[in-house]
């Protein structure tokens, strides 16, 4: 608790001291100081009496009387609210589940598409290699008779394969 409450701070007005005294919010020293002044100061006493009297007048205010119906309707309201919250949570959960399903399907489709692209790219690379090697494959039997690579390179330098290369390029 804040310590400055219990002692009467120098800037406290007389009313603050007296009200805190009536509310039993002063420590023993501060309360004793108020009581000493009360014993000697009739105006101070009068102010205390007036404050106490008007405070007692508040007892005239009626306290709210509440029927059993209020508690019942309050509990019903809370039950309805809890049910609405549960329904909202359920629909939120369903929405998330739906999103998860759609996301899974979309991810599967995407994965399939990427796979297709990869396979296609890989297959076309193999085909390109085959196309490039086609002249060799076509002449495999002739090359076998040549005996060595050096002999074939010598024939190439002499222009033996020039016609075939230009034919392939066309």
């Amino acid at each position: 608790m804040n310590d400055d409450l219990h002692s009467t701070a120098p800037h406290d007005s007389i009313e603050e001291q007296l009200v805190a005294y009536l509310d039993d919010e002063l420590d023993a020293d501060a309360a004793a100081a108020v009581e000493r002044r009360l014993a000697d100061d009739p105006a101070y006493q009068q102010k205390l009496r007036e404050l106490q009297k008007t405070w007692d007048l508040l007892d005239n205010l009626p306290q709210a009387s509440v029927g059993e119906r209020f508690a019942q309707t309050t509990v019903e309201l809370v039950v309805q609210s809890a049910a609405a919250d549960a329904e909202q949570k359920k629909s939120s959960l369903q929405w998330r589940l739906w999103l998860l399903r759609v996301g899974s399907v979309a991810a599967a489709v995407l994965a399939g598409f990427v796979g297709y692209l990869l396979v296609t790219a890989f297959a076309s690379r193999s085909n390109n290699q085959l196309v490039r090697d086609l002249p060799v494959i076509e002449n495999a039997d002739a090359y076998r008779y040549a005996g060595s690579v050096e002999f074939l390179e010598e024939l190439d330098r002499e222009g033996l394969f020039a016609d075939q290369e230009s034919g392939n390029e066309m």
Binding site: M1, N2, D4, L5, A9, D12, S13, E15, E16, V19, A20, D23, E25, E50, L51, K53, T54, W55, L57, L58, N60, L61, P62, Q63, A64, S65, V66, F70, A71, T73, T74, V75, L77, V78, V79, S81, A82, D85
Partner: protein
């Protein structure tokens, strides 16, 4: 070490929670509500409905609205049950929520008033202090006011206080809260509560003394002008 500091802080709030659990039976009921007990919630409603409506009725002036707000407060209590940790007496926690709900309601109604047609300031509404004074003093200024008249006069005097003075006064009078508890409930310092209650009770004295002594009509506007809080 920061970790040690963190640990000591968390131990402190744990100890506080245990202290309130041991000392306040309503905290124990609220912990049962947290664990899913509907019966405990109904018991709390039964215990606090009258006290809550009494305070709220003085804050918003209308019984029906006070009941609606009280239900809103209980609804918020229920919704907050899962995260409830006892950090104060249950009544302090409940009236903190009530104070927020009432403040929101007053702000909403103030916004509505801004767009509505302003009433004639010369009119005395049935609940205004001047109106009550006229009715109470009548042709016999020194007559004894009966209970219902006195109740209306006191009510009008309270209504003329500022919202914060009224709230602090009601919590002090009807809930018997200490200055520390009122400060916690209203989010103010203890010294501010001390000043607030002092001004509230001084204003009440100035408003009600003339009735008690001679049935004279006090100056409500004078009291209201002193009533502006500067906290």
């Amino acid at each position: 070490m920061p970790g040690d500091k963190l640990l000591s802080v968390s131990e402190s709030s744990l100890q506080r929670a245990q202290r309130y659990e041991q000392s306040d039976p309503d905290v124990r009921l609220m912990l049962k509500v947290r664990d899913g007990s509907a019966a405990a919630f109904e018991e709390l409603v039964m215990r606090y409905q009258g006290r809550l409506i009494t305070v709220l009725e003085h804050l918003v002036h209308r019984r029906e609205q006070a009941e609606d707000l009280a239900q809103d407060v209980f609804l918020r209590v229920y919704r907050a049950r899962k995260s409830y940790v006892p950090g104060a007496k249950f009544s302090t926690w409940l009236f903190t929520i009530a104070n927020n709900v009432a403040s929101n309601a007053r702000r909403s109604s103030a916004r509505r008033r801004e767009v509505s047609v302003t009433s004639d300031p010369k009119d005395d509404t049935p609940n205004s202090l001047d109106g009550m004074a006229k009715a109470a003093s009548g042709l016999m200024p020194s007559r004894q006011l009966d209970n219902s008249e006195m109740s209306e006069v006191v009510r009008a005097a309270i209504d003329s206080l500022s919202e914060r003075q009224r709230m602090a006064l009601l919590l002090s009078k009807f809930e018997g809260m200490s200055y520390f508890e009122i400060a916690e409930t209203m989010g103010l310092s203890v010294q501010a509560v001390k000043s607030l209650l002092s001004r509230a009770r001084t204003n009440l004295r100035e408003l009600l003394e003339p009735y008690v002594v001679s049935g004279q009509r006090p100056s409500a506007s004078a009291a209201r002008s002193q009533d502006e809080d500067s906290l």
